[in-house]
Each structure stands twice: as C-alpha cells, then as structure tokens.
Subunit: 139 residues, 2 copies
C-alpha cells in the first residue's frame, strides 16, 4: 500500500445505513445521491491512490470485488450499461463509482457528471429497500 | 466474449497517427480531444461490453494493460491523479478512458465530463510528440 488515510478519505464516508457488503479487499456502499438509482461506491479497505500502486494480486482481488458488485447491480436494476470510474481528485483514497445507467435516465448517454443536479438523498425506507435488494443479488 | 462489433464500436476509431501501443488484450490510442493532455483510450481488442462478462483471467490481463498504460501516463505527465473510467453508453465496446489530471486543468477537481468544451484536436506534430513520449515511457 502507499500512504495512509487523511481527512480527505472521510469524504467517502456514507451514512451507516448505506453499507451494503464487505468484500475481499473493499466494501460496497450505496452512494448518498440516488439521482441515478443504484449508484454505489466500492471503497478499498486499505489506503492507496492509484491502481498501478497495488500489487498485481491485490488489484486482481479488487477487480473481482468490482465485478461481483457490478453484476449484482445488473441483476437488480437491469441497466442498459454499468458505468465504472476511479477518479479520486477530491478523495484520492481508491474507490470505484459504480453506476447502473438507463436509457431513460436524466444524463443518458452522457456521463453522470455532465448532468448538474441537486443531490437526491432518498428517505431511509427507500435506502433500506435498495440496500436489501443489492444484498440479495450478491448471494 | 459476449457479442460482436457493430457500427457503434467504430466511434472508438481514432486517426491512425494516434495509435500508441498494442498490449496483451487491448490497444492504447491517444484520444482525439487533447483538452486534457495525455487523455488516452485503452480499447479491448475483442468485443465485450461489461467487465463482469469477461473471465477472471481475461479481466486480470486487461487490468494489467490498464496499469501499464496509466503508469506510463504518470511518468510522462506527472499528473496529480490519473482518472480511469469504463462508461460505454455511446460505444459499448469495452474501453477505458485514462486521463492524467492536474490541479491546474480546466475541470479540476471535477470529472472531465463536467466541463463542457470544444474538442481540441492538436496538430499532427504535437500528436507525434505525445505518442512518442508515451511509447518511450512504456519501455
């Protein structure tokens, strides 16, 4: 691993009820903004910032976590396409944006970041429903 | 592999002088729009659309190609952060956007897609220079 967590890593902290699953080297959480339903973050447990800083075995394990999560999102949301991104300009702690995209979503076919919008934080009952559906699909 | 190429795959075709390198399961090309210098596409040679459609061995090979390319971009452009994305809403043929990001670039720290702009296609001498620099860093 390279480096240690700092205050910017805390930007990735979602509310406790958004936690979905612990994977091999990462954990999966529902993103707070659900403008795009099923938008999740997959966050590396240890601190690192670039994929090429990880050992090949470690990044392979991370990619398997990513694929497991993406496949579950595919099952639940039946998206036209899953979008994956590792950005980290604001919080460099390695994390993946996993976004089920639909041809009727407000940004389609552009990337979600091309669509300025107010954050849509769902009520807790809806959060529970989404988290449960994704957990079920992971089994 | 899943599916075969169709006309949307051709959207990924960059001018011939943008070709940088052939890797294990993919090839690397300089993106035509160089608003963000060093922006490349890493394109899977075979047709597939989702990472989770690939076998674990195949996606591991793809990730190694990605890391080799990203590390070369790091050497050449000394970015603050490399951004990686697999979107594919317009051209679902599996490809990675690899973008060296700098704290003084026009979109920082937002994702590049949050910054509407005219395509900046560099003159061919500049393309040659960028391609050569990335090739040298891959050695």
């Amino acid at each position: 691993m390279v480096g240690t967590c700092d205050e910017r890593c805390r930007l990735l902290k979602m509310p406790a009820d958004h936690a979905i699953a612990e994977f091999g080297v990462s954990h999966l959480v529902l993103y707070d903004d659900q403008t795009f339903p099923g938008y999740c973050l997959l966050i590396l447990r240890e601190h690192a910032t670039e994929l090429f800083h990880l050992t090949p075995a470690f990044r392979t394990a991370l990619l398997e976590d990513v694929c497991r999560a993406a496949e579950a999102l595919q099952r639940v949301f039946r998206p036209t396409k899953v979008n994956y991104a590792v950005l980290g300009n604001q919080s460099p702690h390695l994390h993946w944006h996993l976004v089920p995209r639909r041809a009727d979503d407000p940004a389609w076919p552009r990337p979600v970041w091309s669509h300025p919008h107010e954050k849509q934080v769902p009520p807790s009952a809806r959060v529970r429903e989404l988290v449960r559906a994704i957990r079920d699909a992971l089994r």
